[in-house]
Structures are given as structure tokens and as C-alpha cells.
């Protein structure tokens, strides 16, 4: 689910890697090689211009993964979901434990040790600060103004969304990308420094370490 106010224009190139590399000049040969290897993606990729998924699931960053079982029930809630090591230098995080957990779930289903208990899930899903919903409304209003040709008027509402839900990196980064970090008097780098640096930017997934698949 691409959380992109810019829609297909912004998200599209990442969904079709071959088109992406053919449309861009001066890409490093390694990127072109990777794109050729990946080719068109075989899984469903959707474009979420209004950040509907982030709003419904209370997500605050990307990538965020949720596991949903065959009955449509959440079995692992929001957590950082890296399926490769592209950003390892920034995050210091290895994708392998998460991938192993995922494989374990695919194999064992609800019996997997990585499927969370109902109590644990409720504990993680029910923290509801009313400001989170207010922030989502301010962000939605900002998007509406941006989309209707008023990017400058949108800024005040994007700022208010960031103030009401300071944990949302989605609100910060999407807003910076639509106009400029200058409109917000900060930079992504400074914001990351404020919380203690890139190695704590993503809270690590809670994986029971001892129960890796054999």
C-alpha cells in the first residue's frame, strides 16, 4: 500500500521497476540490474493517496506490516516490516529475523509462535489518544487543500497534524515531500537526531528470539 498523496505519479515508478529505470537517466548500473531482476511485481500493490490504511490501522511510519489470517483477523499488529536490507545502514536492522518469523507463520499459521495472543494484541491496538483522530482529520484537510491546488494553505493543517500526533513520521515526511522541509523549519535529518538518531528511528519488531524456525 503506497502511502502517497501524489498517487500513481509518485508511487508508480516504484511499482513497475522496469519503467522506472527506463524513465530515468544516470542510474547506477546496479540499480538497473536489480530492476531487471525484479521485473514487474507479482503481488498486489495498491496506491493509497489519502493514507487511508495508515488512518484505519493507526500507522505512523513506513514500512509498517500487519499480519492478517485467513479469517480476516489481525494476528500481528503494526511493526516495522523490512523484507530486505536496503536500509540497513540507516536503521542498523537486519531483515532476517522478520523474514524467518514470516516464513514460520506461512508454514504453521495460527500455531506459529509469532502469532500474538489476543490479550497482547488488544494491549497493542487499543491505545487511543483522541489527538490521534484529530491529527488524522487535520492531515486529511491538508491533503484536500493540496489536491485542490492550494499547497500553501495546506501547510498549517499538516503542521497541526504533526503537533497532535508527533509520533507520526508519515505526517512529517509526506508533508516535507509535497512542498519543502523549509516550510516546516526543520529537516528530516534534524528530526531523526531529536529522537536519538537513525538506529532508534524504527522500534524493532517484538519477535520471540528463542523460537526461530529450525
Amino acid at each position: 500500500m503506497a502511502q502517497d498523496t501524489g498517487g500513481a505519479k509518485d508511487a508508480g515508478p516504484w511499482i513497475d521497476p522496469l519503467k522506472y529505470v527506463s524513465a530515468k537517466a544516470d542510474l547506477p548500473p546496479a540499480t538497473i540490474e536489480t530492476a531487471k531482476k525484479i521485473g514487474p511485481l507479482s503481488y498486489t500493490v495498491l496506491i493509497d493517496e489519502k493514507h487511508v490504511v495508515s488512518k484505519l490501522y493507526n500507522m505512523v511510519n513506513v514500512p509498517t506490516g500487519v499480519w492478517i489470517n485467513e479469517q480476516g483477523r489481525i494476528v500481528r499488529p503494526n511493526e516495522v516490516a523490512f523484507v530486505d536490507d536496503r536500509f540497513k545502514n540507516f536503521t542498523g536492522m537486519d531483515s532476517e529475523p522478520y523474514l524467518n518469523a514470516l516464513k514460520d507463520w506461512v508454514e504453521k499459521g495460527d500455531k506459529s509462535a509469532y502469532v500474538m495472543s489476543e490479550n497482547h494484541l488488544r494491549e497493542k491496538l487499543t491505545a487511543q489518544d483522541p489527538n490521534i483522530a484529530r491529527a488524522a482529520a487535520e492531515f486529511g484537510l491538508g491533503e484536500q487543500l493540496y489536491k485542490s491546488g492550494h499547497p500553501t494553505e495546506a501547510i498549517a493543517h499538516f503542521k497541526e497534524a504533526q503537533r497532535l500526533n508527533p509520533k507520526s513520521w508519515n505526517y512529517k515526511r509526506q508533508a516535507y515531500a509535497l512542498t519543502s522541509e523549509k516550510d516546516y523549519g526543520t529537516t528530516f535529518r534534524d528530526e531523526v537526531q531529536k529522537i536519538g538518531g537513525s538506529k532508534v528511528y524504527y522500534p524493532p519488531p517484538e519477535l520471540p528470539g528463542e523460537k526461530k524456525p529450525d
Binding site: I68, G72, L141
Partner: protein, 165 residues
């Protein structure tokens, strides 16, 4: 530079005066993430009144004897407070959509200058998560074909968000 100052001031004055003089102006409301332009909305001390016809057009909700309803969903209006929500005139029935938002614990964001109102998730929509059922949504792929999460029922789903930014 100095010569252009009065023109600038005049323009600002005009811009400040125009909206009230030409009231009601076009109002935009965003409900369930869909924007609708209204030509006959009325604003009164921070409250937004719209016609019941516009209510149906913008939200699909209708005022019925049992409450404000859409499909199976119905929110009864408190009997003693009907006049806070519904105001009938011979020509048209007005509905206070901001008071209704308050009743159903729905956050509202407003931009006065742009006459735009955004209605967020009602508390019944926010509580979906605590049922542990994955909230359903429909979104398009790159070709514009819509996909609904619940269409994947019977399969395991790894739902992952990402972004270009």
C-alpha cells in the same frame, strides 16, 4: 515599492470583505474521504448547517424518525435536543452536521479561509481495531483496478505500507 503599498492594502481589504458579502459561498466538505461542493451551506458560530438533500449527497446519511441513518447504521438523535440538529423551514430542512459529528465523536478539521471541512473517523470506525478484525478498505492498483482487502479472505495477508518519499 512605496507606490504599490496602497494597492496591496486595498486588495487585502477586498479579500477580507468579499466572503461575508457574498455569503453563502461555496463550501467543500470531505466525508469518508470524498469531497463534495455545496452551494447552500450556512455557517453559524463555528457550526455548519447543510440541507438534508446535501447531507444525503455528501454522506449518504438521511434523517429518519429513528435517527440519522445510512444502510444498517443508525444514530438516534437525543429527543430533548432535536433542535440542535434539525431545523425545518417551509422551503428546506437544515441539518447541523458539526453537532452530529460531536454526537458520534467524529473529529472535524476546518479551514475558514478555504471554506473546507474535513470529517474524520467516527468513534465506531476507530473501534474496529479493538475487535481484532482487520479494518476493510478498497484501493486501486496502478492500472486503477480497485481491490478490496476482504476479497483476499481465505488467504494469509501480509499488509505492508511503503511510500516514494
Amino acid at each position: 515599492m512605496k507606490a504599490s503599498m496602497p494597492c496591496g492594502l486595498l486588495l487585502i481589504l477586498l479579500l477580507t470583505v468579499l466572503p461575508s458579502a457574498a455569503n453563502p459561498l461555496r463550501t467543500t466538505i470531505v466525508y469518508d474521504d470524498a469531497a463534495t461542493d455545496l452551494t447552500s451551506a450556512r455557517e453559524d458560530v463555528g457550526q455548519l448547517w447543510i440541507t438534508t438533500a446535501d447531507l444525503k449527497r455528501a454522506t449518504r446519511f438521511e434523517v429518519k424518525p429513528q435517527g440519522v441513518c445510512r444502510d444498517e447504521l443508525c444514530f438516534p438523535l437525543p429527543k430533548a435536543r432535536q433542535q440542535e440538529f434539525v431545523h425545518k423551514t417551509p422551503a428546506v430542512t437544515w441539518f447541523n452536521i458539526t453537532a452530529f459529528a460531536d454526537l458520534v465523536h467524529q473529529p472535524v478539521a476546518h479551514d475558514a479561509a478555504m471554506a473546507t471541512w474535513y470529517f474524520g473517523l467516527r468513534s465506531d470506525q476507530r473501534q474496529q481495531l479493538s475487535s481484532l478484525q482487520a479494518p476493510d478498505f478498497t484501493l486501486p492498483d496502478l492500472q486503477g483496478k480497485p481491490h478490496r482487502l476482504s476479497d483476499f479472505r481465505g488467504k494469509k495477508i501480509l499488509l505492508v505500507t511503503w511510500a516514494s518519499w
